[in-house]
Symmetry: C2
Subunit: 276 residues, 2 copies
DNA sequence: CTCGAAATGGAATAAACATTCCATGCGGGA
DNA sequence: TCCCGCATGGAATGTTTATTCCATTTCGAG
């Protein structure tokens, strides 16, 4: 019985586990597929649940869940759970403890404030991971890769993002121009056919930035907009919105998610252009 | 037996739990103190361990660990563990699954790249939470709160941070000046007695920024430096370094931690100045 | 429609586990 | 020094949980 088809070697890590789930997902009988689906969507619960709880969540009998573990190559549920319990630490090992300690410095202390910004940054990042549309991102990269000069616009609190994009493009030797309104100079006529515009702006939108996006779109240039609302002034043809919901604390936000998105966009474009 | 001293109400959340641990830590018998100490340092393992495992880790008998749970106000270990297992979800519900999905778009896809930046951002934030010195932060806030004009310097990849600080201070109506080197104009003589300088720079340091910090320090102005290495040019009297280790992915970093620190600093200063 | 193989759910069994109880040890006060 | 009371560890117990087995159902091929 050693060389049977079912004698698979059993996943050694959470990554292998997820891979296995998806690779044999479709070829499985119905109840097994229910198990696979539920576990895939609730990997994080495996370490802290009983067979019965997971089975109920998946809508199957406990024995079905058991058999599923064995199909995956484990000797049983316990062995599988052991793997998850051991791999459990890296998540937030003493992260919340650290935050706790920072907060304890006092209600209005700088440390407590920092803890809040760290926390909102973290939740913004998680949110971004779940809400970004890979297809939209891919489309944006394609548009910018094909452009002659990439024009960058972003003012007020969006300015740091635009500035960082300008730095990154320059580093990668990609033609880009930052429209920073120095001297109130409006360089919109620097945008020529074949160029593209990348704007960054959040509600309430800065009029100058919106105007620039509209004039570019009217001229037929492709426009990519990093923004925070789907119903803003960028819901019109010719403009490709990339949504990022940044959690703010008080009147300010830490821009973690926005900058991550921006830099990923820039590096993708850079990689693709320089390898062509 | 309702009004006995030992009839404590039992913690309802992880925070309350930690608080309770610390408040009755010193007053406990030896073995109980061992339990408290070990649990405090391994809060994250409680949800995924058995009594026996925790007891062994703490170097006590299982029954001692049991009694400790009851001292805390729980009916037993199971009740305590239930609390931790339930409180466990909010952290990363399907966060790692989302990242996994993003990565699967393809090795060099924009989504996969974004996932990497999100991940390094998150780890930078966690790192910052653990490495920041509340005392140093407090000192920096005090220095900047007492200053006349706050001068801001940061070029190249540090420029977005300096720019965001300038935006935040302006919003809060705090006198600040961004030294952005437009027109190669060096405004260092705008720094007068009573002012302070806040610089942002990372290794390899931009010479202009370093020079500005040195000239300010030489003139006796207080200088706060947001930077990434303790052994840089800011290891000298008169300069207060705030260290932030930003994980970078490839040649770029997402600046999440740096910006969080910067904005926390700015808001702290703003709050304190405007309430005075 | 019929047969056979695979799948399924539920009940029975076995293992792991939490919890309690009690005998023993240890330290502090008289 | 002796005694009392609390603290402690280990064994016994009862409960929860995993696991296996088997009767029944479902599905697909002929």
């Amino acid at each position: 019985m050693a060389s049977e088809t079912g004698a698979v070697p059993a996943p050694q890590s959470v990554e292998e586990f997820q891979e296995r789930l998806r690779e044999l997902g479709p070829s499985l009988p119905r109840r097994m597929r229910d198990c696979a689906g539920y576990l895939e969507r609730n990997v994080d619960r495996i370490a802290v649940s009983t067979v019965a709880q997971l089975a109920e969540g998946a809508g199957v009998a406990p024995s079905a869940m058991m058999r599923f573990c064995q199909v995956l190559g484990f000797s049983g549920f316990s062995e599988m759970q052991r793997m998850f319990r051991e791999a459990y630490s890296p998540g937030l090992p003493d992260y919340s403890t650290r935050l706790e300690l920072l907060r304890e410095e006092g209600r209005d202390s700088p440390s407590a404030l920092l803890a809040e910004f760290i926390e909102s940054g973290r939740s913004s990042l998680e949110n971004l991971a779940g809400s970004i549309e890979p297809a939209a991102l891919e489309a944006a990269v394609r548009v910018l890769t094909g452009a002659g000069v990439i024009h960058l616009a972003g003012l007020r609190r969006a300015f740091p993002v635009a500035a960082y994009l300008a730095y990154a493009f320059e580093k990668m030797q990609i033609p880009a121009m930052l429209h920073d309104q120095t001297g109130r100079l409006d360089h919109r006529h620097a945008m020529r056919a074949g160029d593209a515009l990348l704007v960054v702006t959040f509600a309430p939108y800065t009029p100058e930035t919106v105007a620039m996006a509209e004039s570019a779109a009217a001229a037929g240039l492709p426009v990519v907009a990093i923004t925070d609302r789907a119903d803003g002034p960028f819901a019109r043809p010719g403009i490709l919105p990339l949504l990022v919901a940044e959690a703010d604390f008080g009147a300010f936000r830490a821009l973690s998610a926005t900058l991550s998105l921006a830099i990923a966009l820039a590096v993708s474009v850079g990689t693709r252009r320089n390898s062509a």
